[in-house]
C-alpha cells in the first residue's frame, strides 16, 4: 500500500516549476516511478505532493546542439538504447543502457531519474561522467548547469534544490577517434544492481599518444566518481599494455568500496583493477581495428 499524497500533473515545464516553487521540499517529482514508487512503498519518502513529469512535453528528446549531445531528463533508458546519436557518440552510455535492470524497467526509468536518485550504483552515471556531462537544473529563477561530478554529492544526495527540476543532461560530442566502453559486474546477468561498474573513454592522436583519458567508477564510493589519477597515467602516453596495467592499478586505488550484501570491499577493489584493464584493452583494440 502506498502512503497518501496528491498527484499534480502539470502540462508544461513552467507549470511544473511553479508547483515545485510553491511546495518546496513537500513535493517530489516522479517520472517512470521505478525508484519513486518502490521507495514510497518502503516508506522512505513521505511527500505531500508528487509532481508527475513523465509526459511533460520537451523533456524527452535527444538532439545535437552546438557540438553537444543534449538528452532530455525524461528520455527513458530504452530511448538511450535505441537512439542513433547515443550509439554514434556515446557507445559506453548505450552499453550501460543495455544492461540496465531489465527491459520492462528500461521502458519507464528515465536518465533524469537515474541521476537525481543518486544511487552510488546508478548505471548511467559512470559513462556520463566519462563524457564530462553536465546536468541542467531549471527553476523559476532560470536554468543552471552543473557538472555531473559536482551534482552527485553522496548516497542519494544531489545539488538539486527542492524548487528545481532536472531537465537535461548534456555533454560535448567526443572527438572522432574516441573509444569508450562500459561494464558492470552484477550477481547475475540481468536485472542486477551493480556490485561495481566502470566506464572508460580514450582519445589518441595520429601518433597513437593518448590525448584524453576518462575513467569513471560506479558503486565503489558514496557517489560515482572519476579516477583522475588513473587518467593522468595515460595522457601523453602510448596505450601500451604496461601503461594500461598501471592505469588500472591506480584506478583500483581510487575505489573506496564498502562491504555489503553484493560484495566485499576487497573483492570490489581487486575486480575494479581487472575491469578497468579490460575496458582499456577493449578501447585500444577498437582503435587498432578502426
Amino acid at each position: 500500500m502506498l502512503p497518501e499524497f496528491d498527484l499534480l500533473q502539470p502540462k508544461t515545464i513552467p507549470e511544473a516549476l511553479a508547483i515545485l516553487a510553491e511546495h518546496g521540499a513537500d513535493a517530489m517529482p516522479i517520472a517512470g516511478g521505478t525508484n519513486v514508487v518502490v521507495d514510497l512503498r518502503a516508506g522512505k519518502h513521505q511527500p505531500r505532493v508528487l509532481v508527475d513529469v513523465a509526459r511533460l512535453p520537451g523533456l524527452r528528446g535527444i538532439h545535437r546542439e552546438n557540438g553537444h549531445l543534449v538528452i532530455g531528463s525524461g528520455a527513458t533508458i530504452s530511448d538511450l538504447l535505441f537512439d542513433p546519436l547515443v550509439a554514434q557518440h556515446a557507445p559506453a552510455l548505450k552499453e550501460a543502457a543495455a544492461v540496465f535492470a531489465n527491459p520492462l524497467i528500461r521502458n519507464r526509468a528515465t536518465v533524469g531519474g537515474n541521476l537525481a536518485d543518486a544511487s552510488p550504483a546508478a548505471d548511467t552515471a559512470p559513462p556520463l561522467l566519462a563524457l564530462d556531462a553536465e546536468v541542467e537544473l531549471a527553476s523559476q529563477g532560470g536554468i543552471r548547469r552543473v557538472p555531473l561530478a559536482d551534482f552527485l554529492v553522496g548516497v542519494r544526495k544531489t545539488l538539486r534544490r527542492s524548487d528545481e527540476l532536472l531537465i537535461a543532461v548534456r555533454f560535448p560530442v567526443p572527438l572522432s577517434g574516441t573509444f569508450s566502453h562500459f561494464q558492470k559486474v552484477g550477481l547475475r546477468r540481468a536485472d542486477a544492481i551493480s556490485v561495481l561498474s566502470a566506464a572508460v573513454g580514450v582519445t589518441c592522436d595520429a601518433a597513437g599518444r593518448c590525448t584524453v583519458a576518462r575513467i569513471a567508477l560506479g558503486a565503489l564510493a558514496p557517489r560515482p566518481l572519476r579516477a583522475t589519477a588513473a587518467e593522468t597515467v595515460l595522457v601523453g602516453e602510448k596505450l601500451t599494455p604496461a601503461a594500461i596495467v598501471e592505469a588500472a592499478r591506480v584506478a583500483g586505488e581510487a575505489a573506496r568500496p564498502i562491504n555489503d550484501i553484493r560484495g566485499s570491499a576487497d573483492y570490489r577493489r581487486q575486480v575494479t583493477e581487472v575491469i578497468v584493464r579490460r575496458l582499456l584493452e577493449k578501447a585500444v583494440a577498437a582503435e587498432v581495428a578502426a
Binding site: 497518501e4 498527484l7 516511478g33 521505478t34 518502490v38 508528487l50 508527475d52 513523465a54 527491459p103 521502458n107
Partner: protein
C-alpha cells in the same frame, strides 16, 4: 488526497473512474476485473503485472493510475480471445511454458514487446527480453521455446498474407 477522474482505454474498452492518487495502474486494472494482470512483487522485479501502455511494455505496479490517464492499455488477455488466440497464447500452451500460470501473462507481454520490435529474435534476445520476468515453475526453457515458436508462426502467417495479397 481527493479522488481524481481517470480514463483508461483497456483492451479496446474505455473506463472512466474516480481513483485516489496513490492507486497504481496494477490495482486499478485488477479492480476493474482485468485479473489476468497479476500482482507479484510490486517492486518491478517479477514482471507478473506487465501490460502494454501505449505500445510499451511496463510493470503496472510502478505506474500510478493517474499517470496512465488517457492511455491505451493492452493486457495479455487483450491480445486475443479464446476463439482467436494470439500466436503467443497458443505457443505457450503448445510448448508447455505454463505450469501454475501466474507469471504467464507478464511473459506474454514481454514477448509481445520483443516480437513487435524484433520479429526474428535470437535466443539471446529472447532471454534478454524476458529478463524482467520471474517464473518459479517451468525453468524458462519452455518459455524461450514458446517465444521462438510464436515468432516462427507469426512470420509464416505474415508471409502467407503477403503471398495472398500478391496473387490477388
Amino acid at each position: 488526497m481527493k479522488p481524481e477522474l481517470v480514463t483508461l482505454h483497456i483492451n479496446g474498452r474505455t473506463h472512466t473512474l474516480a481513483l485516489a492518487p496513490n492507486v497504481t495502474l496494477l490495482h486499478a486494472l485488477r479492480d476493474l476485473g482485468y485479473v489476468d494482470v497479476k500482482c507479484g512483487c510490486e517492486q518491478g522485479d517479477c514482471g507478473a503485472c506487465a501490460v502494454m501502455l501505449d505500445d510499451v511494455a511496463v510493470n503496472s505496479c510502478l505506474v500510478l493510475a493517474g499517470q496512465a490517464d488517457g492511455c491505451q492499455i493492452v493486457t495479455a488477455a487483450g491480445l486475443g480471445s479464446v476463439k482467436q488466440p494470439h500466436p503467443l497464447h497458443e505457443a505457450f500452451a503448445d510448448s508447455g511454458a505454463i505450469q501454475c500460470g501466474y507469471c504467464t501473462p507478464g511473459f506474454i507481454i514481454a514477448a509481445k514487446a520483443l516480437l513487435d520490435r524484433t520479429p526474428h529474435p535470437t535466443e539471446a534476445e529472447i532471454r534478454d527480453a524476458i529478463s524482467g520476468n520471474l517464473c518459479r515453475c517451468t525453468g524458462y526453457g519452455q518459455i524461450v521455446e514458446a517465444v521462438q515458436i510464436a515468432a516462427e508462426r507469426i512470420g509464416e502467417s505474415t508471409n502467407r498474407r503477403i503471398n495472398e495479397s500478391a496473387s490477388l
